[in-house]
């Protein structure tokens, strides 16, 4: 597990929204551009890394109880997405690393994927 602050450090990421939530802990991560897969296979409190920037990404994060979103390869999300993220209090991070490298860097720091981690229930 890592805190969002540690995720930022590892990925040299900037915080688009959610500056006050950087002490939040993430237990697992998932790299995906397919929101259908995120909806079907992720656990709650997961960090999503994605290259998609449309509104459906934040809707998916909201209903799936994801912790935060990292946009990879320097992509900046659409303004309507940012607005919903603020409203739903889901932190958004931006990194220049492409998907594979961003995932690899976090995995190297011990952040596991959704298939290997124990199920955690948080209220």
């Amino acid at each position: 597990m890592l805190t969002l602050a540690e995720v930022c450090e590892v990925l040299d990421a900037s915080v688009l929204t959610g500056e006050t939530s950087l002490q939040m802990t993430v237990y697992t991560a998932c790299g995906a551009d397919l929101m259908s897969d995120v909806l079907a296979f992720t656990k709650e409190r997961t960090l999503l890394l994605t290259g998609l920037t449309n509104l459906q990404v934040i809707r998916t994060a909201d209903v799936s109880d994801l912790s935060a979103i990292v946009f990879v390869r320097g992509k900046v999300p659409q303004s309507d997405l940012i607005e919903v993220a603020r409203e739903r209090k889901i932190p958004l991070l931006l990194t220049r690393y492409p998907m594979y490298e961003a995932c690899g860097l976090l995995y190297q720091k011990g952040l596991k994927g959704c298939s290997s981690a124990p199920v955690m229930h948080h209220g």
Binding site: S36, A40, L55, D80, G123
Partner: protein, 145 residues
């Protein structure tokens, strides 16, 4: 099953992707405020979103009805869409008729209906070509995850 403790109906507008997911997000918040257990809320919210996206993608419009009963939550999503010719085929993982622009949004992978069935404790679908599709899902508050 008697009268629900709470019943809300959301209108869904086909093709309006700026609002796609808004009803499901509201469903989630209502369930949270009602004190439904978090794992049940998550399963219901995910299933609601999958169903809502299907209406936005495939139909002109439809409705999502949320009913909270003491022991279970029911979601009924009905649309005036093209209907599904072969429901058995549509229930298979990976089968999709969604257009490319939907795939570019990260959807249309053919996982929606199977995922709804996985999330719900009971899942029923009735569809008629040219008339529409109706999905009923039940989420037991103390049911299996």
């Amino acid at each position: 099953m008697g009268e629900p403790v709470l019943s809300v109906v959301f209108e869904l507008i086909g093709g309006d992707f700026s609002l796609a997911g808004d009803a499901s997000s509201r469903v989630k918040r209502i369930l949270q405020q009602a004190g439904i257990p978090a794992p049940v809320v998550r399963r219901a919210a995910i299933a609601a979103y999958e169903a809502e996206m299907n209406v936005i993608i495939h139909a002109d419009g439809g409705t999502m009805r949320l009913e909270i009963h003491p022991d279970e939550t029911r979601l009924t999503v009905a649309d005036q869409g093209p209907g599904i010719a072969d429901v058995g085929q549509a229930m298979q993982e990976g089968y999709s008729t969604a257009p490319d622009y939907v795939r570019e949004m990260g959807f249309g992978a053919g996982m929606g209906l199977p995922n709804m069935r996985k999330c719900a404790d009971r899942f029923d679908i009735v569809s008629a070509v040219g008339e529409g599709t109706r999905i009923e899902m039940v989420f037991r508050h103390n049911g299996p995850a």
